[in-house]
């Protein structure tokens, strides 16, 4: 069958068709976002709440807490948003291997940059006890903003919701870092982790 390319469409028809195209495209992208990100937002939101709360209340074991929580997060992410799960929930076979790899690359580079930039060589200096809390907060703010950079990039493709979520959590991270230093980790638990959980619940409730 050859495409017929005559042009019998009125401006009113064209406007109605474009509105329908826009509606379906938005709906489809939201379905993709729902299938890919809702469980991840909630999972990582809970991890942030637990991890940053542990940072505040048990600073001596913060590193071990985060190693365990990040392991749970990565394993959970694979189980919750792997291709089989996605297909079972939405009927989509998205071929998003590259997006998953992009996230892994972003997280890998985040860890690399943190290892390179943090002044580990000062850990034997006499001022380390005074410097360590500041360095810890810097690393936490850095890690959170690297993750949010991923959301901003994802937002450029999936829709403005993720862009604004990334910018909002980045802004609250900076606000906490500069203005509530003493309670920074609790601030991150509730504003950062809370935002991720609320965003996940919002998408689950309103976008499906």
């Amino acid at each position: 069958m050859k495409p017929n390319t005559a042009n019998p469409v009125t401006p009113e028809d064209a406007r109605a068709s474009l509105a329908e195209v826009s509606r379906i495209v938005t709906q489809t992208r939201q379905t993709i976002a729902w299938s890919c990100t809702t469980p991840l937002l909630i999972l990582w939101g809970v991890i942030w709440v637990i991890g940053f709360s542990a940072n505040h209340f048990f600073p001596a074991s913060a590193l071990q807490s985060w190693l365990g929580l990040d392991g749970i997060g990565l394993g959970g992410s694979f189980l919750l948003a792997g291709p089989f799960r996605q297909r079972a929930i939405t009927g989509l076979s998205l071929g998003l291997g590259r997006i998953r790899l992009a996230w892994l690359a972003l997280l890998g580079y985040g860890v690399l940059w943190a290892a390179l930039l943090a002044p580990w060589e000062q850990s034997h200096s006499v001022t380390w006890a005074a410097d360590a809390p500041v360095i810890g907060r810097k690393l936490a703010a850095f890690s959170a903003s690297v993750c949010m950079f991923g959301y901003v990039l994802m937002g450029l493709w999936l829709g403005r919701f993720f862009l604004w979520l990334g910018l909002l959590v980045t802004a609250t991270t900076l606000a906490g870092y500069y203005f509530v230093a003493d309670y920074f980790y609790l601030w991150m638990a509730f504003t950062g982790g809370g935002s991720l959980i609320v965003a996940g619940v919002f998408i689950r409730k309103f976008w499906r």
Binding site: M1, N4, V9, E20, T90, S93, L94
Partner: protein, 96 residues
């Protein structure tokens, strides 16, 4: 000036192509989910998909998921190009 593509312009096929073109390039969606999201019956959707497949705008592929056969569909490169041209033509008409 890009021209209207009457294969795509039929309301149901316009919606199908809109949904498939909004997916990432290698992504597919299964027949039932597509019908559900576009509010189309199986018969109606099947007929329109056949037309689009004959034109080379979409590709259907049968797969087994949990041992059940499912048909997955995706827009082809040709389909995406024609859809983009069709949307460009609609925009041109709106400007006139």
């Amino acid at each position: 000036m890009p021209a209207i593509d009457l294969v795509i312009h039929t309301p149901a096929r316009l919606r199908i192509m809109s949904a498939l073109s909004a997916l990432p390039p290698r992504a597919q969606i299964d027949f039932r989910s597509l019908g559900r999201s576009l509010d189309l019956t199986d018969g109606n959707l099947g007929a329109h998909l056949q037309t689009l497949e004959e034109t080379g705008y979409i590709k259907a592929e049968k797969k087994f998921v949990d041992r059940k056969p499912r048909t997955y569909v995706a827009a082809t490169a040709k389909g995406r190009i024609h859809f983009d041209e069709h949307v460009a033509a609609l925009r041109e008409i709106c400007r006139v």
